[in-house]
Amino acid sequence: MDALIEKLKEQIIEQLNLAEVKPEDINPDASLFGDGLGLDSIDALELIVLLEKHYAIKIQNPADGKKIFESVRTMAEFIKSQGKA
């Protein structure tokens, strides 16, 4: 799980062009949106692309994204639950 979380952090930084953020700056339990990393609606769509590209997971209903993308940990748990990690 921890390895997946670390990998996800790097992928998020790369996919979302978070140039000033380092993996160790991201608390895996902190909120990705709002006060946490401060991601916005485009980033949310971009995270859907990330899951599709790197983990072959398709999210059909973007509304589901809200729960999945709560934090890096929830993302990792979701990927695991899909048997893709």
């Binding site: 979302l16 062009n17 978070l18 140039a19 000033e20 485009i42 769509l45 971009e46 692309v49 599709e52």
Partner: protein, 210 residues
């Protein structure tokens, strides 16, 4: 009252000129690296910068540099400032990135954060957001830097009293080539004399571009 250019910034891959003060830039491997370098030089703190495409980064940097120490934003309400920009290649640099992401049906991943930058006027939006500027907008595309077009558009807008000031110029980014001139135009009372102010016309704009 007089319509004048009160501040400007010119950026290419090799120079950064702010109101006549010229700084030679060291060559960098990529245009993006040069943009990051200028960002650091100008000591701007704006994390959103890194998410932007090259065109927006260039436009935002040139605007920030022109605004610095200009007093422009203190003299004008954000709702009466217009942003009028122009370039040659529209958003082609990012268009090509998006096209590449859909060129292979077995590796077909269009990216929303790329696609959103496939419009040239997004750079106007980024500048507007940074300073909450809500006045008139327009993006023009021309074959080459066109000082006549800019002068006509600036004067028309100011004379017809749509706004009190304009952020204007040329912002082109393609294949790592940086080519920007941003200048600030205002109507100032004749009583305010400043030797650095330049009359707004075709010729002045042309001279600033060189």
């Amino acid at each position: 009252m007089e319509t004048v250019i009160t501040s400007y910034c010119r950026i290419t891959n090799s120079v950064l000129i702010i109101n006549g003060e010229k700084l030679t830039l060291e060559p960098k491997e990529t245009g993006q690296q040069q943009l990051t370098d200028i960002y650091k030089r100008l000591e701007i703190q704006y994390p959103k910068f890194h998410k932007m495409d090259g065109l927006c980064k260039l436009g935002v940097l040139a605007t920030e540099a022109a605004l610095m120490h200009s007093g422009f934003l203190e003299r004008h309400q954000p709702d009466s400032i217009a942003i009028l920009l122009s370039n040659k290649s529209s958003s082609l640099d990012t268009d090509r990135t998006h096209q590449h992401s859909i060129s292979n049906k077995d590796n077909y991943f269009p990216s929303p954060s790329v696609f959103v930058y496939t419009l040239p006027n997004i750079v106007i939006g980024e500048i507007a957001i940074k300073h909450k500027i809500t006045g008139e907008n327009a993006f023009f595309v021309a074959e080459k830097f066109d000082s006549k077009l800019l002068a006509e558009q600036n004067l028309t807008l100011l004379k017809q009293n749509q706004v009190s000031a304009v952020i204007s110029g040329w912002v082109d980014y393609e294949n790592g080539n940086l080519d920007a001139l941003i200048y600030l135009t205002e109507i100032v009372p004749n009583s305010i004399k400043n030797s650095k102010f330049k009359p707004l016309n075709d010729l002045t704009i042309k001279q600033l571009y060189y």
